[in-house]
Homo-oligomer: 415 residues x 2
């Protein structure tokens, strides 16, 4: 345990939002505001970009009740970014500017709330500060619906998105079977490289009303095999419900979403901007089977559905933020808060642990291959046992006229 | 008040399902099972098609608790159909068959749970039975997320779908603004000819986080005006959120969804099978503005989302079914249960009334033109005042492991 640093803290949010990323931000902000060693709590406008632009919000000026509403407010309340920071060994420009802004406000704690790419950013900043001898404790607070962060049992944001996916499948399952004329329904779920969220559709099957077939990016997608699978189920049941991950690709690595041949743009990290896979597959299946086919893309809904969040996920997301602050004050730095599953009591218990950022940065944790059925079109019971505890508990949402009452922050810029 | 008929009843469900159509079915089934004059309660498999095929389920054999779960189970539990029955003056075949099956089981009450087309079917059957002198009381029980049934203040199913649409817009609004790089988001909502459900997106704006622009089928859609509207908002705010109804069309009546030129199939009633409008508009807007554009289709989710149902809607749907049975036993026939809004107490009160089926059948109730802004791209406060009471109250859902526990009916066929 080291001496706590006396100074301000900055919290930034980065990457694609989730239903509970604000619960983590609240965990950081509330804990930091209440900590005697932290002199001011600043929120970076749009993550690292806000720090570079000297756009920091004074969280001390927010109404405590509005801050509390962050627990049930989806998306990133401080704004997010997808900013690829340079390697400090190649270009120090951004780092010098960060240092300048941090020194200006005497920032001694930096919390970055994000996924793989954000942990990489976080790690680079941490190493830079160490190298130049600037005393600032840097902590990563995980989030991602993709559940693909390395070294953690699971990621905040995943449980809520998984619950949304499972519930939506259960509802659509009923709808898709309402006529006796047959229908094939293909639902596209987010997940570029990891199939965790798509696998969550299996929770609906576990509850008796889910997909017949599930395709994840961990297994190469074979169009002919897929068409044979769907056709066999449709011929047997006059109905088929299929879950596909946006990132499924063929054996050569070509994305199935790109089978239409349209040029897709890429984001700042060079990821192809996906979408339209469900429509593409629906058209191919329709042509082959002649059946009525519907393609549904869950799109932004799956990561923004705070109304269907898992209370377990909210609690853990909050705790991740809280732990980051407490551990940083206690002397930790260059770490990411991670989750360890403890089943020793026979019950699911989630423990907070710390991982070195360099171990987490840029690695992607894939769905274990032995949790995918040998046929490559389904998910095993191991996954159900893994995921079910993560979706438990109904959120205690604040409503106004039966619609969500989200947090309205003042966002007063620090001058 | 006429003498109650002694005999069996049949309940059928027809047309596109809703989140609460089963609440109406439960209103009919529960009330009929408890009624001393009704000797048996049969559910028609897939609506009128099930009667023609002599496929009736014995509702008396169902577990009462499973039946109660229908209150929170989406889609049509008995199965649905889109079957266009002939004009009895032209072709009596179907009617003779219906009569044969009804006589076989001594059916004296027929309840048909559906929208416009179903009320037409219901009306034709009612008139036929009258003409041939078969004593059977026929009642329509309304449902439609489209809210376009004539003569009723609103329709069961609308409130829940409206709540889903409003909540989803509020969530996506937050997500779509998370980056400072700008985004235009276009969300497509069901509604071929009437804009009620699309207008519901305005409830999100009323709550502070909704669409900037709303386009409904009641007003001819002008592509150039639309592009100018979107561009103006995007240039001002770096962001734009747009609600469009699947049925928007140009001044010549051509559907905007068909601007891609792809041949669309038609359903049994000759309605074009819509879909893909959001993607079509997104591509056009992207080309014009160069902005990042996302098209989202709410698809089946909006009518199946029992998890976000309005308790008001569930209660009214149940009451519509219950009233149909009670009134039929009391001697009414050839009527549809309708809703009358009573605001005399200063509070919203919904009263059950009866309308002659021939007044309801085949008419479509459009959104009042003076509830659409003069620019044709927004919704007025009158709509908010109208719709807000319909979305109130959170459903008391039965959950298992935090996932919905839907009704599992045995569906024992009557021999």
């Amino acid at each position: 345990m080291q001496t706590p640093l006396k100074g301000a803290c900055v919290i930034g949010q980065s990457g694609g939002p989730t239903a509970v990323i604000n619960a983590s931000a609240y965990g950081v902000i509330r804990t930091a505001l209440d900590n005697e060693h932290i002199t001011a709590v600043y929120g970076a406008a749009n993550g690292i970009k806000g720090i570079l632009a000297d756009r920091l919000y004074d969280m001390g000026q927010e109404d405590p009740e509005e801050l509390r509403l962050l627990l049930n407010t989806p998306s990133s309340a401080l704004g997010s970014c997808r900013y690829k920071i340079a390697d400090p060994d190649v270009d120090e420009t951004d780092y010098k500017r960060l240092l300048e802004v941090f020194e200006k406000y005497n920032v001694r704690y930096f919390f970055y709330n994000g996924g793989n790419d954000s942990m990489d950013t976080c790690n680079k900043i941490s190493r830079y500060f160490q190298r130049v001898g600037y005393a600032c404790r840097v902590m990563g607070v995980p989030k991602t619906i993709d559940n693909d962060l390395y070294g953690t049992d699971h990621c905040p944001g995943f449980g809520s998105a998984a619950k949304y996916v499972a519930t939506s499948f259960m509802e659509v399952y009923r709808d898709a079977r309402v006529y006796d004329t047959g229908q094939i329904t293909i639902i596209e779920i987010m997940g570029r490289h990891a199939g965790w969220l798509t696998a969550s559709a299996a929770l609906a099957s576990h509850a008796g009303a889910g997909p017949d077939l599930i395709y994840v990016p961990e297994v190469a997608f074979d169009m002919e095999k897929f068409l044979a699978d769907v056709t066999a189920i449709y011929e047997r049941d006059k109905n088929a419900l299929v879950a596909v991950s946006e990132g499924i690709h063929d054996a050569e690595g070509k994305l199935i979403a790109e089978y239409t041949g349209s040029a897709k743009s890429k984001d700042a990290f060079g990821h192809a901007q996906l979408g339209g896979l469900a429509a593409t597959l629906a058209a191919i299946v329709k042509e082959r089977t002649g059946a009525k086919v519907r393609g549904i893309e869950l799109s932004l809904l799956q990561r923004a559905a705070a109304h269907l969040a898992s209370q377990t996920d909210i609690d853990e997301a909050f705790l991740a933020g809280k732990t980051a602050v407490e551990q940083a004050v206690a002397g930790e730095s260059g770490k990411m808060v991670a989750f360890e599953r403890d089943m020793s009591s026979g019950q699911y218990v989630c423990k907070m642990v710390l991982l070195p950022l360099e171990k987490v940065a840029n690695f992607e944790q894939k769905l274990p291959l032995d949790w995918i059925t040998p046929e490559g079109n389904g998910i095993t019971q191991e996954f159900i046992a893994y995921a079910l505890p993560l979706i438990q508990g109904e959120p205690n949402r604040t409503l106004e006229h039966s619609l969500p009452r989200f947090a309205n922050l003042k966002k007063v810029l620090v001058k």
